[in-house]
Assembly symmetry: C2
Homo-oligomer: 477 residues x 2
């Protein structure tokens, strides 16, 4: 292997704080496999000398990567790239390398039951129907070269109408159509975040958002999910370029931010003139009808919403959107024109067919999710009574706390028992949530039953027979 | 309007040379309309003082924007944002603001015949058929959450097989599927170009590529299109992060780089270990069968190809690709996972249906283009005998030289005569090609005839009756 200082190349030619630039370049090397799992990383003192930079810069960069779970530092054995199992460094054949969710989907180990996805497992029949209905519209197009950077007007109108029906009056000019909510976050980060800028995120949160902000060399400022005092303090202290929140059926915890908390965040954003991004993707998967209104309802231009059809319909149907002030939508559209000229036209025409009837798909999907949720809760209570969780009010995932041990080690044991589940650390910008697992209930009931039995056997093995006793204690505490 | 130094904000927090950072920020302000057409720009001396930077930095930034046609500097009246007509600052309702191609499509003036598009004007019936055939495959999917950052394997295989059939043996691992060739360029620039890095481009060239490289704050190094000595000298002098070429049916000139030139570029790239991007998008639109092999045929890992179905099939069908070494494809896929998680699945399934039968669509399209090309040439020769052009050997556009005057002023006159045509300066990173127009022949023959008549009336008006005499003189010279 070439020496690290050679691999690093021109790492410092970027902008922003040096430690973030160094961390960003090291992260790339790890994710690209140029620094393979287990590879030694030079002591901070040594690397600092070779790069002719301060030791505190190297220490800070290593700390960022340690919190991300990309490197491990152990007394005596020094610093190393994290081992491969369940880490983000495993190679995937079609490239979802950084994110373990994709790894497990794309390279599923044999005979392993996957509990890693939080997305529909197949397209619903209405999606096929919507495409079939869109084809005559496609055939009827003329004098249209097909490039629509902000989205086809009829889609923008249909998305706006849906927001309006949900109680959030919206004009088509306020909607930008994008290739899934992931692209919405990417464009917003590119427009609003300069390297080194602060971005307030929840801990834990959607890991795909962390990927976007890290790629932009943002300085992440994590606050505990649901702790509204921490949000507003961080907004005041850091004046972040973006405060990113998943307020309704939070991914991964499934929780819902209350009205008081929402009002406080919107008020702070207005007072300090800050941008809040409300990730609205899971918000339609509600098991009840008593959810608070979206942040955007009272947020004015301070709250930007991102949404998509990927959780209600299917992830392979890459239609998402941004809801923002028209001037910002125009700027985002120009950026989108540079980066891909616009999203697929046929998908957009299908969205026009689908959006007016989305409630039907949503009702079916929510009914199934709720049934699977209840089943998963019952199975967990029966077979893993020591595990703690709050039943979800919507969404697709349970956030489970282990009574002892750490979830990353347990997940490796679980993999040997034939079930893949994601430890909380993958969703936590702090490297926290060490005791947590995300357990999605997007699977059929029989699969969930089987998976819970495997999890229970793994837990029994992991906790060495002591687990349940320890954990009973832990519950009482 | 707020003072310019306020609008500029934290322009210098970027990376790369200061004059490029200043130019990049000013470009955004102009394109976003915050500096409207005609707005005065402070003298370099004044702005330099306000920003506490050297005057040469401001002069260099203004020069970049002047070359791009975004600002005009006139003795006596100072520096101003370029006027709106045919400039890139006009607002488009769905956001293709920066690129005048989109402007004219999205906001066509009444009664104006557009000669601005170089893309199919409607989807061919085979595209509808391919989608219809893909729907059963979509319905049959199970255990697939639909996120495939590198592309669905069957598409990668189909693209690889098509390259192999065209004489360029390719494995599926060497193909990344993206949302059109524009996204291919964007991802490659993001991965390979740091701000301030040199990028060698042709003058003129595809303006969408210039947008991508400018957005990445690259230092553009233009060389005259077709001048192979200039390419290899620039590669040697600047050691560019990317050398970007459209070697076959060049957009906009329609020319084809010869075998000798191709070999020289590939050899230089290998000797200096530099990356060449071969834009392969127009290459399949050949009127004859004697085109030289692609650069990539002898280029090894030094030549990366980008391609798409947008010119052969339709631009609204957003399927493009990168052909590169598997390690680079994996790195690009990780980047794509961060930015949009993958392209639309249904479009990809349709591409699988379409690719094996692409020759049929291509043959139909080329036959029509060739007929329209010949018709356009004949009409131009008859009605505008002073205009000079080389008949194209393929592609979609003629590159026409005016015998006198400048094409930007003429294009404004033409617009008043009811025809919109793009002046060469829009394709020229130098602000050169002042005497050129790009005239696409993607339109039906009757439309081309009508457009040429309008162009002729405009020319007569523009050249004040003297035009044809002057130009006859110019031809002789």
């Amino acid at each position: 292997m070439r020496p690290l200082e050679t691999l690093l190349g021109r790492w410092s030619s970027g902008r922003g704080p040096l430690h973030l630039l160094l961390a960003t370049r090291l992260r790339q090397l790890i994710d690209d496999g140029l620094l393979p799992p287990g590879a030694p990383i030079p002591p901070d003192r040594v690397l600092a000398k070779k790069l002719a930079i301060g030791r505190t810069t190297v220490v800070a960069a290593y700390e960022v990567l340690r919190q991300e779970g990309r490197i491990v530092r152990r007394q005596g054995s020094g610093t190393r790239v994290a081992p491969a199992a369940l880490s983000s460094t495993r190679r995937a054949p079609d490239g979802g390398g950084r994110n373990p969710l994709f790894l497990h989907l794309l390279e599923p180990p044999d005979d392993v039951r996957l509990l890693t996805c939080a997305a529909p497992l197949a397209p619903p029949p209405q999606l096929i129907e919507a495409h079939a209905n869109a084809l005559p519209r496609l055939a009827a197009l003329s004098d249209d070269i097909g490039y629509h950077p902000a989205g086809i007007w009829s889609v923008r109108r249909a998305v706006a109408e849906r927001y309006t029906r949900r109680g959030l009056p919206t004009r088509p000019e306020e909607i930008l159509v994008v290739t899934g909510a992931q692209q919405a976050l990417s464009l917003l980060a590119r427009l609003l975040v300069a390297p080194g800028d602060s971005v307030v995120v929840e801990a834990p949160t959607y890991s795909g958002a962390l990927d976007v902000f890290r790629d932009g060399a943002a300085a992440l400022r994590p606050v505990p999910a649901g702790d509204v005092g921490a949000y507003t303090e961080a907004m005041d202290e850091y004046r972040p370029a973006i405060t990113y929140l998943v307020p309704t059926f939070h991914n991964p915890t499934g929780s819902v931010l209350g009205r008081f908390e929402r009002n406080a965040i919107v008020r702070t954003a207005k007072e300090l003139d800050l941008v809040v991004i409300e990730d609205d993707v899971p918000a339609e998967l509600s098991f009840h009808d008593d959810e608070p209104p979206p942040l955007a309802a009272g947020g004015g231009e301070n709250v930007i919403q991102v949404g998509s059809l990927s959780k209600v319909v299917w992830g392979g149907f890459r239609i998402g959107w941004v809801r923002a002030a028209p001037a910002l939508v125009n700027r985002l559209a120009r950026l989108k024109a540079i980066h891909d000229l616009g999203s697929d036209t046929i998908a957009q025409l299908a969205a026009v067919e689908l959006l007016p009837n989305l409630d039907e798909i949503r009702a079916e999907r929510v009914a199934r999710l709720r049934e699977q949720h209840d089943h998963l809760c019952a199975e967990l209570r029966e077979h893993l009574p020591s595990w703690r969780f709050e039943p979800a009010r919507g969404g697709q995932t349970l956030w489970v706390r282990l009574p002892s041990g750490d979830a990353t080690s347990y997940a490796q044991v679980a993999l040997r028992h034939g079930v893949a589940v994601l430890p909380g650390v993958h969703f936590d910008p702090n490297g926290g949530s060490q005791d947590a697992l995300r357990v999605p209930f997007v699977y059929p009931k029989a699969d969930l039953s089987d998976a819970v039995r495997r999890l229970a056997r793994a837990w029994s093995s992991y906790s060495g027979g002591r687990g349940e006793r320890d954990s009973l204690h832990a519950i009482v505490v």
